[in-house]
């Protein structure tokens, strides 16, 4: 696969910037010789046609939501409305410097303020910060809030965070950065928090619990009020990971379930694109007792004017250089305005309906370890589909059928997990063709297992541009940068 470094250096390319309109003094006259770079970085300039063709070609090796069904569990790969992309590029938003005077950025401040009010309404909590720029960053903010809260109360012995064994990996990682230790709570055979175990674990060393609601099996914690009451009674706080908010939008609110801290993933629930892995946005809403600790600056509205408020002596401080990912928040805000209450309800209805329909149909062919009503996603096991067939084989074979595979090998409590989340955007026809593909793969698993082991075969007109990639090779022969020494040996380093 060609990279930009395989293009020849073209010295004649220029024309991006105007010539200097003042008398040139020359670099050496302006900065001391020993500070000036001697060897230029090895970066070839591509002509614009080459540039566009190189990246257009690369784009065609990718598969996005616009290419087809993308049922990645826990990722909520819903459609990204085009309007929002256009709005983020409006010069009035895109060209505004974060340090410009408040009276000159009233539009941006108003948008942030109003967006945070809507998010608080969805969370059922009084205040929110928009600074966190990803889900894990929101978790981290939440853990810092807990830490500061207990510091302020003089309860420094509260050093433990409780986590269900089905939790996302970011949860324990976020807790660890804030200096907490993690105690795992086992799931019951119904896939929920074991309340009996929880009661025994709770004591004055517990800072709080991190819950994902519904959990990563797609199951709603039916005893959620009991769980949060127990934690509160023991003096702890309840953190809700919002990765799965899509399943109860417009029907229930985390604040009403006992959440003290709730993080949103705007790049999941509120339709902003994932960008191939970011940027996202992870606003955090909190209950009354945590408001004094929120990050600064807060955005205030006084008599129709918006301003930044840096005065908060108990705040945890800043989580981001500025005010969070403004360009992402504005897309989520536009999405919310279009949906309104009615649209939010339709989202959860269709997301949950789609998931239950898929679950019902697919459990005829694949093992469903937790067989009950699911919310927006569910988890199958690839076990027992065919002799020597792994979930990875099934996932890679789906590529040959033109689908992006589901999340695999997560949650950890299901062996050979296939975690499927259809979102509200898919219609029944798409779901039916996905079911049909998985049914055919199950037949292949018994009759022609080799084709699964070899998948993707790249024989169908689908997106895979390479056969199955060797992860072990990448680990044994680590190459993280272009091998200039080998490939550029005929070029001088002088360019």
């Amino acid at each position: 696969m060609n990279t930009i470094f395989d293009y020849k250096q073209n010295e004649e390319i220029g024309g991006l910037f105007p010539a200097l309109d003042i008398p040139a003094q020359g670099t050496e006259a302006l900065i001391p010789h020993d500070l000036v770079r001697k060897e230029p970085p090895r970066i070839p300039a591509l002509s614009e046609p080459d540039l566009i063709r190189h990246y257009t070609r690369l784009s065609k090796l990718n598969y996005g939501v616009d290419d087809g069904f993308y049922p990645l569990g826990s990722c909520t790969m819903k459609y990204n409305p085009k309007l929002n992309e256009d709005l983020a590029r409006l010069p009035g938003f895109a060209t505004v410097h974060p340090s410009a005077d408040e009276d000159l950025v009233q539009g941006s401040l108003a948008l942030l303020y109003e967006a945070s009010r809507l998010l608080c309404g969805i969370a059922g909590l009084p205040e929110a910060t928009l600074q966190p720029v990803a889900g894990a960053h929101g978790e981290l903010t939440g853990m810092f809030l807990m830490k500061r809260y207990f510091e302020a109360r003089g309860e420094k012995e509260r050093k433990r965070i409780l986590l269900p064994d089905s939790a996302h990996g970011t949860n324990p990682a976020s807790a660890a950065i804030a200096g907490f230790s993690v105690t795992e709570i086992p799931s019951t055979k119904e896939g929920m928090v074991d309340v009996g175990v929880l009661e025994k674990i709770l004591d004055e060393t517990v800072a709080g619990i991190m819950l994902t609601v519904p959990n990563t099996l797609g199951i709603f914690e039916e005893k959620i009020l009991e769980v949060t009451d127990l934690v509160h009674a023991a003096g702890g706080l309840c953190y809700f990971d919002g990765a799965n908010l899509n399943s109860f939008l417009g029907r229930a609110r985390p604040g009403d379930m006992g959440a003290d801290i709730f993080h949103f993933n705007l790049h999941k629930t509120l339709s902003t694109p994932h960008g191939g892995g970011g940027p996202g946005s992870g606003p955090v809403a909190v209950s009354e007792r945590l408001v004094p600790f929120l990050p600064i600056p807060r955005i205030r509205k006084d008599r129709g004017t918006y301003r930044l408020d840096w005065e908060a002596p108990q705040s945890i401080g800043c989580m981001h250089s500025f005010y969070g990912n403004f360009g992402v928040i504005l897309k989520a805000y536009a999405y919310l305005l279009q949906l309104g209450d009615e649209g939010l309800r339709e989202v959860s209805e269709n997301a949950v309906l789609n998931a239950n329909y898929l679950q019902e149909r697919l459990k005829q062919t694949y093992r469903l370890p937790y067989d009950r009503l699911c919310k927006h996603e569910f988890v199958l096991s690839g076990e027992g589909v065919g002799e020597g067939i792994s979930t990875l084989d099934i996932a890679k074979r789906l590529i040959d059928y033109g689908f992006h595979p589901p999340t695999v090998y997560f949650p950890l409590i299901v062996h050979e997990a296939l975690m499927i989340e259809p979102t509200e955007c898919e219609g029944k026809e798409t779901l039916d063709s996905f079911i049909e593909a998985l049914e055919r793969i199950a037949v292949e698993a018994r009759e022609d297992p080799q084709i699964l082991h070899e998948a993707p075969t790249c024989t169908s007109p689908m997106r895979a541009s390479v056969r199955r990639l060797d992860q072990t090779h990448a680990a044994r022969h680590p190459v993280f940068t272009y091998p200039f020494e080998e490939r550029w040996k005929d070029r001088g380093t002088e360019i």
């Binding site: 500070l35 616009d66 830490k147 990996g169 401080g317 305005l337 309906l353």
Partner: protein, 440 residues
């Protein structure tokens, strides 16, 4: 709703297949008490046309877009070539998820391999990750990484780094139990290396720093012994200045915004993070590695994942998952568009124009450089009179400067900072000088 494909007939058929009678049945597992407490937003749905209008009104309320910007402070108003957004708005890139399925993500992964290489080339380093959230969080992760490697609870930090980096660093260090030792600067605006104590996990310096001054990085590595040298820098300046790697930096971080990323009121931005191969196991965030497929064809995949949260959980090097991938793609395309030659041309334009303005201001009575040291595209001037007053008068004339209170907080009262990029013309610079010259 426009983003939903199912019809009522579809919904009825699907409910029947599941064996339910109403959509409400799908939510029977949510406790009734929770449902009873629910309150809607009281938000009516709007048409696409109405939403487009409402947001256009907000954009129009941002008067700042019409003003002439001399704002900087680590975030700069650079020209963005048209080709960039035409590539980053290809939906195969922007609607994809993290490349967990490499066979369907060779576009993103190839670009990330290019990105890692470019970051290493810019900074003279050996391995770079696929991005952090922004420059400040990249720096905070660098501090945590140093503390982890040397198992020491202290980090030395130059006082003259940009305040937004320091604020985020303070938050992360407090939470991680890392103590910050502040290192003063000298009369020339450069960090006082003699004041760095021994035995810290690392030393953090920024160049160009909060005054715009280019630090002389030579000798710092020797001075700090086995502590890690952590340098925050500017990627455009790196096209012209000796890269931090040549001074022995162990970790280099930067705000990648100048590489073709819109200002967008402070985000999304791009944290650049590079280090040495010997620290590979401790690097935070995602890495892309080269590999081969079943037929021996070269491809790319996420690599060295045992450092990451989805495998190592509580013992991961960082909790980061979603990063700033699309911004990393933007920076990659931007650098490929300019090439090393274009980058140097751009850096030189910035350098020359900033010096032109500085020299013309210096010719005015009462104006002098606050720190007599080399600078790149931003400089700090001691001004005659109250800097807030002078700034306010410039604002009335449609010219924006950073609030001097952040400089005053760093011990440089009575100063103003001016950032000059390639976008400022001679006429604009002359006009600024004329206004200040006419002020009394």
């Amino acid at each position: 709703m426009r983003y939903i494909a199912n019809t009522d007939a579809d919904r009825r058929a699907m409910l029947a297949a599941i064996g339910l009678t109403s959509l409400d049945d799908l939510f029977s597992d949510i406790p009734q008490q929770v449902k009873d407490r629910f309150r809607p937003l009281d938000l009516p749905a709007k048409s696409e046309m109405e939403v487009a209008g409402a947001l256009q009104d907000l954009a129009d309320a941002n008067l700042a877009r019409r003003e002439l910007s001399f704002l900087g402070g680590g975030v700069y108003d650079h020209y963005i070539p048209s080709a960039i957004s035409h590539i980053t708005s290809r939906s195969e890139f922007y609607t994809a998820y993290t490349p967990y399925q490499p066979e369907l993500s060779q576009g993103t992964l190839t670009a990330m391999f290019e990105f890692q290489t470019l970051v290493c080339e810019l900074f003279g380093m050996e391995v770079a990750n696929d991005s952090m959230y922004d420059g400040a969080t990249a720096l905070a992760e660098g501090a945590r990484m140093a503390a982890r490697i040397l198992k020491r609870p202290q980090i030395a930090v130059a006082r003259n780094i940009f305040p937004q980096y320091r604020r985020v660093l303070d938050t992360y260090c407090w939470a991680s139990g890392i103590e910050i030792v502040e290192i003063p600067y000298m009369e020339d605006g450069r960090c006082d290396r003699a004041a760095i104590p021994e035995g810290t996990a690392g030393f953090i310096i920024q160049s160009p720093n909060a005054f715009g001054v280019i630090e002389d990085l030579a000798g710092f590595k020797d001075r700090i012994g086995d502590a890690l040298l952590i340098v925050a820098t500017n990627p455009i300046a790196a096209g012209l200045l000796v890269p931090p790697g040549e001074f022995g930096a162990d970790i280099v971080v930067a705000e990648g915004q100048p590489l073709g990323i819109p200002l967008s009121f402070g985000g999304p931005f791009l944290g650049l993070f590079a280090t040495r191969e010997r620290h590979l196991r401790q690097i935070p965030g995602r890495l892309t590695g080269q590999t081969v497929d079943a037929e021996g064809k070269v491809g790319y995949t996420m690599a060295a994942q045992t450092r990451e949260q989805h495998i190592r959980r509580g013992k991961a090097t960082s909790n980061i998952c979603t990063n700033s991938q699309l911004c990393a793609l933007t920076a990659t395309v931007y650098l490929a568009c300019l090439g090393a030659t274009g980058l140097r041309e751009l850096a030189t334009l910035n350098l020359e124009k900033a010096h032109y303005l500085a020299e013309n201001l210096f010719a005015l009575p009462g104006y002098e450089l606050a720190f007599p040291s080399p600078f790149f595209n931003e400089f700090t001037m001691r001004v005659p009179g109250d800097p807030r007053e002078i700034r306010s008068q410039l604002k009335d004339a449609g010219m924006l400067l950073d609030d001097p209170k952040s400089l005053a907080a760093l011990g440089a009262p009575d100063t103003l900072r001016f950032a000059v990029t390639e976008k400022r013309t001679k006429d604009e610079l002359d006009r600024l000088v004329d206004i200040l010259g006419g002020m009394r």
